[in-house]
């Protein structure tokens, strides 16, 4: 009881008894774990742009699905799997060429999104469609979405864990992996499918901004702290969950902040936390390794 009353200023009234908050906490937690696990490889493989592009491309599918009256989730998934296939098809081995391929696919998809959103707004006169599809909101999820999100997330995590060893090897050194008999291309494609699945479900659940933030931020922070892939995955998932839950809490509390009672968006809080985590770790680890390097330099001199 005393602990609860101490926490009272932190948790504004009704936080634990509000169904939208419960769903936001569950979905946010699932998405953060999936993003942390999948994102560790995204950062290791230098595919941040592809990860972000898929979130944006998914909105094209989402707005297309809106147009034909289907659930946006299916639009996201279908569009992303197609886009991942095209990127893989025209993708060039070098990272520069791959970024270009990603960019071309993204540009074409955004053009289509412009068309779909235009048609959405002219046919159904709901101008809010643009904002809804692009920014998403964790507080407006239907509870019927929870099992679908959990299953898709499990599928993505399962694929990554199943290919764990060949994936680590081919991410660190594709040439070495190839000489060891790892089917590098196949592993890459399996991973890309898992990535597009993870991104589409997180983009539809929590919005395109948060999708990229949770995919890249926690994983990049974790990989600065440890070189071990498995450990990095656990740290990334934990950081993601902490950022998401704290963000949901702060967004809920912000309705009670002065001067105006309108509430701040969740995405802002989560992104800010993720960003601060990374900058703090980057600065402290970077400074330490600099000092170590200068000490080593003095030793050899």
């Amino acid at each position: 009881m005393t602990a609860l009353s101490l926490l009272a200023p932190v948790f504004e009234p009704g936080f634990f008894s509000s169904p939208p908050v419960d769903i936001a906490l569950i979905v946010g937690g699932v998405v953060a774990v999936v993003s942390g696990v999948v994102g560790t490889f995204t950062v290791m493989r230098g595919q941040s742009f592809a990860g972000h592009a898929l979130a944006d491309i998914g909105t094209t599918g989402g707005s297309g699905a809106f147009l034909v009256g289907a659930s946006p989730l299916y639009g996201f998934v279908v569009m992303n799997v197609i886009a991942a296939g095209v990127m893989e098809l025209i993708g060039i081995r070098r990272p520069r060429g791959r970024d270009l391929a990603t960019g071309i696919v993204l540009g074409a998809a955004l053009g289509l999104a412009a068309l779909f959103l235009y048609l959405d707004t002219t046919t159904s006169s709901t101008t809010g469609a643009t904002i809804n599809v692009l920014f998403g909101s964790i507080f407006t999820l239907a509870s019927s979405m929870v099992p679908v999100i959990a299953i898709l997330g499990a599928l993505a995590v399962g694929t990554v864990l199943l290919c764990f060893r060949p994936l680590v090897l081919s991410s660190l050194s594709p040439d070495l992996a190839a000489t060891r008999g790892v089917p590098v291309r196949l592993v890459g494609m399996a991973y890309f499918t898992a990535l597009s699945l993870a991104v589409s479900l997180s983009a539809v659940a929590i919005g395109a901004i948060l999708s990229t933030a949770l995919l890249i931020g926690p994983a990049a922070t974790a990989l600065r702290l440890t070189k071990r892939t498995g450990t990095a995955m656990v740290i990334a998932a934990t950081l993601g969950v902490v950022a998401t839950w704290t963000g949901v809490l702060l967004a809920y509390d912000s309705y009670y902040w002065q001067p105006s009672h309108h509430g701040w968006p969740v995405s802002f809080f989560v992104v800010a936390l993720v960003f601060v985590f990374y900058v703090v770790v980057e600065l402290s680890v970077g400074r330490r390794s600099n000092r170590r390097r200068s000490v080593a330099g003095a030793g050899t001199a």
Binding site: H52, G103, A108, Y118, T121, G128, A213, A272, F275
Partner: protein
Amino acid sequence: MFSGFMINAWEAATIVAVVAGIVGFFTVLRGSAFAAHALPNGAFAGAAGASLLGVNVIVGLGVFALLGALTIAGLGRRARHDVATALAIVMMLGLGSLFLSMTTEYAPQIYSLLFGEVLGVSTGELLPTAVIGALCVAVIFVLYRPLMLSSVMPDAAEARGVKVKQMDLAFLIVIALATAAAVPVVGSLLIFSLLIGPPAAARSFTDKPLHAMGLSVAVALATVWTAIALSYLSNLPIGFFVGTISACSYAAGRGWMAWRRARTSSSGSAVVTNLVQT
């Protein structure tokens, strides 16, 4: 199609296409596609912030694009920018969603910032676009040699005394400026298509940098002019046409390369068979 307010549209799109063709050449050469997407997209938040404070939209766009460029250059490690870029864009967009939640801006205005409103360009918007665009092109030509060297051979550039890291920052700032000039006209999502598609297509046709740059400007101009005409005739959003035509021109470039490679390799084998026969 060429009367009254449409004249502004043609002029604005022409300026943007020339700037995008030239800046885009280096974007493709340096592999900065992600930054070229992140800065305009994130700068959109600056426009939302500017409307919140009642400042000119171009100022908001410029400030956010420059902050984004500094973040990417500051957090990015040598030759690897993708994580820093991803973090910069989500941070800017996060701020954008905060600003949007505070303003009472209508959705159509947000849509036009994202996808462009080239058919509603006012004469007042033309001058800043032209001035900033000219500045971008001037910086590119002043820095042409060191920028080229640091893009193609960073190690050799360093040995010759070119400060690669500063070139990197300078180029990101050029992208940021181009963003501020172009976003009010063509929207944050389309400037990206123009920065990538036409230059990538041009590079498939020629290896000479200046030729490629000229061709890239020509393709960009053809893209926007066709897009405006089609958009005017069909009433569909211009963004759709710019995105599609850019991707098609890239596909044409790739097709041309594949066809030429097939031809040279077959003529090469013909030479070999000739040699064998003689």
